[in-house]
C-alpha cells in the first residue's frame, strides 16, 4: 500500500464520518416525524478499502469507523455492528462479482477502475446488507416489522443516492 493510498483512506474516513454526522444526521433529525430519510454514506469507506489490506486490519477499521459514527449518534455499538457485518461480507461479494481477468491488486475496487455497472452492483449489494443489518439492530424487536422493512428499503435508497453523489463528485482512484 503506497503512502498516497494511506492518505486517501485517512482523508476518506474523516470526510465520510463528518458528512455522516454533521449533514446526514441533521437531515434525519429535521425529518424526525418521517423516520425514513436516513442515509448512511460511511460504508463507502469500507467498499473502497484496498483488496490487499490484511483481514484483521479491515475488521479493525470497520469497528473503529462504526464506533466513531456511534459516538455522534449516541448509539454505542449499533453502527459498529453493522460495519463489522459489512466488512465480513465484502470478500464474498468481491468473489461473486470477480471480473474474468481477476482483480488488479494495485487498484482499489472503485468505479474509476472497474466501471459503472460493476461498481453499481458492488455498492448496492454491500449497502443493502449494511442497511438490512443496521435497521434491524436499531429496531431490535419484531413488533413493527413492516416499519422496519420500510426503513431498510428507504434507508438503502437514500444511502445509495448519497454514495453515488460522492462517487460522481470525487471519483476516487486511490
Amino acid at each position: 500500500m503506497t503512502s498516497r493510498t494511506l492518505f486517501a483512506n485517512v482523508f476518506r474516513f474523516l470526510f465520510l464520518v463528518l458528512i455522516q454526522v454533521l449533514v446526514l444526521r441533521r437531515l434525519a433529525l429535521e425529518w424526525a416525524g418521517f423516520p425514513y430519510v436516513n442515509a448512511l454514506v460511511y460504508p463507502l469507506f469500507l467498499m473502497l478499502l484496498p483488496i490487499t489490506l490484511p483481514r484483521w486490519g479491515q475488521f479493525l477499521l470497520a469497528f473503529i469507523l462504526g464506533i466513531s459514527v456511534d459516538l455522534f449518534y449516541d448509539s454505542p455499538g449499533i453502527h459498529a455492528s453493522a460495519a463489522v457485518f459489512t466488512i465480513y461480507l465484502r470478500p464474498y461479494i468481491l468473489r461473486w462479482l470477480e471480473p474474468r481477468g481477476g482483480y488488479n491488486l494495485n487498484h482499489i475496487p472503485a468505479k474509476s477502475w472497474l466501471g459503472y455497472g460493476w461498481f453499481f452492483r458492488y455498492s448496492a449489494s454491500l449497502l443493502f446488507f449494511h442497511c438490512l443489518f443496521y435497521f434491524s439492530v436499531e429496531a431490535f424487536n419484531f413488533a413493527n416489522i413492516g416499519g422496519t422493512l420500510l426503513r431498510i428499503l428507504t434507508g438503502f435508497f437514500f444511502s445509495l443516492i448519497g454514495i453515488w453523489i460522492i462517487v460522481m463528485i470525487f471519483n476516487p482512484k486511490e
Binding site: 462504526g66 455499538g77 459498529a80 455492528s81 465480513y88
Partner: protein, 287 residues
C-alpha cells in the same frame, strides 16, 4: 497446535467477525436504554418459563412440608386474631363515646385510601451467593406488575422489580451492588440509603446518615417511605455496629438483616397507586 493455527487461518475472518459482534452487542444492550429494556424483558420471558417449570416440579415434592408450614402459620395467625380481638374489645369498652375515640374515627377516615396495593407472587428462582443477586417471580405485566416496584415478604424487604415480561418479573434483590433503598431508624427521623457491600447475605450497610444523628446498637431499621417503592415502616434489620470514618461527615452503619433471603418461597409486590403521579411530578422537577 498446528491444527488450531490452520483452523484460525481458515476461519480467522469468521472468528474476528463473531468476536467484534459480541463486543458490539455487549455495547448495544448495555448502553442503549431501549435495547437494554427489550433484551432484559425477552431474556426474562425465556428464563422465567424455564425456572417456573423447575419450581413447579420442585414444589410438588415439597407439598407435605409446605402444608405443615402453612398449618403452623395458620395456627399462629388464629392465635393472633384471638388476642387482637380481645384487645380490641377491651379498648372499645374503654373508649366508648370518649374524645380519643372520636379522634381515632377521624384519623381512620383520613387514612382510608391506601397508597399501596400488594400482589402475592411465588419465587421461582433465587440466588444469594453471587455479587449481584436476582430473583424471579411468577407475576408479570398481565397481573399489573410494573417496572420499579418494591418487593417484600412477611418478614421484611426483599428487593425491587428490575424488569417485567408478560408473566414474570425479575427482581433485583437488596443483595445487589446497585440496590439502593431509602431507610430510616425506627421512630427517629434520620434516614440513609441501604446498600450491600457484597459479602455476607445477612449483613448490610447504611450510607449517608449524618454524623449528628443519635441512635444505639440494636435499634430497628425500617423503610423510610421516601420513595414510591416501599410503604414506610417495613422492617429491614437491626443495627450491629456504627462508626464515623476519620474525616467523614457520615456514619458507616452495619446492620444485620432480619429477613433470610435464602429461604424465600413467597413474596408480595408493592404497587404504589400514586406511582405515575409521583413520577410525572419528579420528571417535571428534573426537566
Amino acid at each position: 497446535m498446528r491444527n488450531l493455527l490452520q483452523l484460525f487461518v481458515r476461519f480467522g475472518g469468521l472468528f474476528m467477525f463473531l468476536f467484534l459482534e459480541v463486543i458490539c452487542f455487549t455495547l448495544i444492550v448495555n448502553f442503549n436504554e431501549r435495547h437494554n429494556q427489550i433484551f432484559l424483558s425477552s431474556s426474562n420471558a425465556v428464563v422465567g418459563f424455564v425456572y417456573e417449570r423447575y419450581a413447579n416440579s420442585r414444589d410438588y415434592f415439597k407439598l407435605d412440608e409446605q402444608n405443615a408450614q402453612l398449618l403452623q402459620d395458620n395456627q399462629q395467625l388464629l392465635a393472633n386474631i384471638e388476642q387482637l380481638q380481645k384487645k380490641l374489645a377491651r379498648l372499645e369498652e374503654l373508649t366508648r363515646d370518649s374524645l380519643p375515640r372520636r379522634i381515632a374515627q377521624r384519623t381512620e377516615a383520613g387514612n382510608d385510601q391506601d397508597d399501596f396495593e400488594f400482589i402475592g407472587a411465588k419465587v421461582i428462582n433465587n440466588s444469594i451467593t453471587a455479587n449481584n443477586n436476582l430473583l424471579t417471580l411468577d407475576k408479570g405485566k398481565a397481573d399489573s406488575v410494573v417496572h420499579h416496584a418494591g418487593v417484600i415478604n412477611g418478614k421484611g424487604i426483599v428487593g425491587v422489580v428490575r424488569s417485567v415480561s408478560n408473566h414474570y418479573a425479575s427482581v433485583m434483590s437488596v443483595l445487589h451492588r446497585e440496590s439502593r433503598v431509602s431507610v430510616s431508624v425506627k421512630d427517629k427521623a434520620y434516614f440513609g440509603s441501604l446498600v450491600w457491600k457484597g459479602n455476607d447475605p445477612k449483613k448490610m450497610n447504611i450510607d449517608a446518615v449524618p454524623k449528628h444523628a443519635e441512635f444505639a446498637q440494636g435499634d430497628t431499621i425500617v423503610t423510610s417511605g421516601y420513595s414510591y417503592l416501599f410503604p414506610a415502616g417495613i422492617i429491614v434489620g437491626t443495627i450491629d455496629t456504627f462508626w464515623v470514618p476519620p474525616g467523614d461527615n457520615f456514619f458507616e452503619i452495619e446492620i444485620s438483616l432480619v429477613n433470610d433471603l435464602s429461604k424465600l418461597e413467597h413474596a408480595y409486590i408493592c404497587i404504589n397507586k400514586n406511582r405515575d403521579d409521583l413520577l410525572t411530578l419528579e420528571r417535571e422537577v428534573n426537566d
